[in-house]
Symmetry: C2
DNA sequence: ACAAAAGTGTTTTCTCTACACCCATGA
DNA sequence: TCATGGGTGTAGAGAAAACACTTTTGT
């Protein structure tokens, strides 16, 4: 096989920053690293890119392999390419952030794999430059969520407006006015109101909503701007 | 040297989508490829990542080497990682978009290097997946420019409001109302009005402005929203 | 009946849009 | 003096923010 001469080849990895939301706090999925160096230290879910797959495919495969999760929202957001970021040899890492419904998968994750959820502000020390990746991914998540309705990926199929509001408040680290929030969300036309109520957190109960998938697909670019508010 | 065993290594390249603006049209800087395969075909400015440098450094180096340009706005935006995107062997490409003041550098580029500016809608066929990269980069540029004041990078030190407006219109492919545009731009506090006027395009002449560098640095996140308008 | 959460209405404030208008100047 | 592009002013529509108020229901 012909090659480009005299050029150095590198390992290429993918690392996934997996976000989840348990109804109260934004969480991060971490695993104990399975190979040297830094074996058994906490790490992002990652792996090397294999010969036949694209980086996107590698990220999906690695997620699936480490957690059993499939069909997850994945978005490539940054390459970490400093020469010395891995002490063994040069490895470039393509970082992805992933959004999953924590309830749907948490049992499975804990039973079959050695992954664990951490509140994003109480995570353990991470290997290499993974802390930087998390910081960058969170920033990117805020940025993206401010403009596009991606946070629904973090919620169950059925969810209530108060739940949604808590999620927005958590991600953006601010209080939001309920009245304005409800009006804004409803005006997007992204939600379909269900008959059923969630009575777990109040006497009155809050109506469940589900995503209007059609609109969600077509209006993905839509600008939300559910910010500024209260105080 | 210790290595991770049994993993495939790849070549890693950087490719720069270089945007320029001549006062009328958005342009793209292309070079004739200097190596096989596809030698002498039009290509983005790119090169392989060397052992001691980060991808960001590689992009800056490659830009400098191919054009003489230094200190240019460069932003990594996407990895192109399909296994077969290069026919010779697997090469991952980290794509960057660059914004430069076309006037400052155009003479130099044409004289010393074999790079050429093309209006973005009249570019020649490009090698590999470079057309896709250009499309993606342009989309990213629009997206980013809609929110952040990066377009100033495309203008000379001194520029007029009408020039700025044409640039916004060109990038976003829409007409903008002059009154509203001026008001909005001025309200950002990013511009400093100069004494001098540009009389080249009207009898009355338009005042030159320069960037308030301090504010530009600190308010980089600032949301512009100079859109919707006219008709 | 009352506490507590869900959800609605309403006022005030601000911003955006459209467009009319004035300005400066060379031909 | 008039044509041309530069630049300002302003009324009306619409959206955002603040917050008061109503609804529901378990205890």
């Amino acid at each position: 096989m012909i090659e480009y001469s005299n050029q150095t080849h590198y390992l290429v990895a993918v690392d996934c920053i997996v976000f989840g939301f348990d109804g109260e706090r934004l969480k991060l999925l971490l695993v104990k690293r399975g190979l040297e160096p830094e074996i058994d230290k906490w790490s992002l879910i990652g792996g090397f890119v294999s010969a036949g797959e694209s980086t996107d495919e590698a990220a999906a495969r690695v997620l699936k392999k480490n957690t059993g999760l499939d069909g997850i929202y994945l978005e490539q957001f940054q390459v970490y390419g400093k020469p010395d970021r891995d002490p063994i040899e040069r490895v470039l890492s393509v970082a992805y952030f992933a959004l999953i419904d924590i309830h749907k998968y948490s049992a499975q994750i804990n039973a079959d794999y050695h992954a664990e959820w951490f509140p994003i502000n109480e995570k353990p020390a991470l290997i290499f430059d993974h802390e930087t990746m998390v910081t960058d991914a969170w920033k990117k998540l805020r940025y993206k969520a401010a403009l596009h309705p991606i946070l629904f990926e973090l919620l169950p199929k059925k969810f209530t407006l108060p739940q949604l509001q808590v999620l927005f408040e958590e991600v953006n680290d601010m209080k939001i006015d309920t009245g304005n929030f409800n009006r804004k969300i409803k005006s997007t036309g992204l939600l379909i109101k269900l008959e059923e109520k969630d009575k777990s957190s109040s006497k009155k109960g809050a109506f469940y909503f589900k995503l209007n998938q059609k609109r969600y697909q077509s209006d993905f670019h839509l600008v939300l701007n559910v910010f500024r508010s209260s105080k």
